[in-house]
């Protein structure tokens, strides 16, 4: 199908209606935002998703967050920020976070382990740590599985984060035609040789892994 005549999938309408209403109820419940804000945020997501239908972005094994010409980082922060109650949310372990920030600035690597990471977690992390250290908030490298780099509704949010794109064993054989490509990408991510400019060469960003099981 040529990119200029892509069809808007009708099956997405009920899904998006639920998505819209859930977001609206959550945001309006805070009393801090209004209907116009909800409509604009939802429209920005639909706009970005349609861009993916027209011109799909393919994630490399190491994806660097995109902030120009469109700022996908702020796009995600805006969406998730309205779901956070900043008056009651507190950041624990500030001393450790400051230590991490200092270690990163000294050129050390830091690996953060988390279980059951959700798509919203990177944005929540950035919101929570921005007041402590902006580098710590913005420069984390997340480990991303299939869905966050393949699903058109997830992709715009993923594009605003630094990602190591890997394929889990769980979904490795979902599509037999893609097994080889997935295995090749996994080897590239963990490759022993670090090509110039690859993530292995980078120093400073924190890395947040999402192991399975």
């Amino acid at each position: 199908m040529p990119p200029h005549s892509l069809q808007f999938p009708e099956k997405l309408v009920p899904v998006w209606t639920d998505f819209y209403n859930n977001y609206k109820n959550a945001v309006l419940g805070s009393g801090l935002k209004d209907d116009t804000f909800v409509a604009e945020v939802q429209a920005s997501i639909a706009d970005r998703v349609l861009h993916q239908f027209m011109d799909p972005y393919e994630f490399p094994s190491y994806h660097t967050r995109i902030t120009e010409p469109y700022d996908y980082f702020e796009f995600g922060q805006r969406y998730v920020g309205a779901l956070i109650n900043f008056d009651t949310s507190l950041v624990g372990g500030e001393d450790r976070l400051k230590t991490i920030a200092e270690q990163l600035k000294a050129g050390e690597n830091v690996i953060l382990m988390a279980n059951h990471q959700t798509e919203a977690d990177p944005a929540v992390w950035a919101h929570m740590t921005m007041a402590i250290d902006s580098h710590l908030a913005e420069q984390v490298i997340y480990v991303a599985g299939d869905r966050v780099v393949d699903d058109a509704m997830c992709k715009p949010f993923s594009m605003g984060r630094n990602l190591l794109c890997v394929h889990s064993k769980k979904h490795m054989f979902d599509d037999p035609d893609k097994v080889q490509a997935k295995q090749k990408q996994n080897r590239r991510v963990r490759g022993a040789a670090a090509p110039k400019g690859s993530w292995q060469e980078t120093r400073g960003p924190a890395r947040r892994a999402r192991p399975r099981g």
Binding site: P3, H4, S5, L6, Q7, F8, E10, V13, W16, T17, Y20, K24, D35, T36, V38, A39, E40, Q42, A43, S44, A46, D47, L50, H51, F53, M54, D55, E68, P69, Y70, D71, E74, F75, Q77, R78, G81, I84, F86, D87, S89, L90, V91, G92, E94, H127, M128, T129, M130, A131, I132
Partner: protein, 63 residues
Amino acid sequence: MRRPTLAVRAQATDAKAAVTTPFASVKSEAEFFGTMDALVKAGKVRRPRGPRRQGASRVRPAL
């Protein structure tokens, strides 16, 4: 413990993006779903036309 601050820019901008969709100008829920319905009915989303190349012919050349 430190309270985080909400430091989100007012509006994510798309000033330099090459492609726009009808959703870019939505300001209300009715406009959002109206746009979605229209796109489903239209069955397609068109890219905005760019400037014509200088010297490009509007006439399809004869074979």
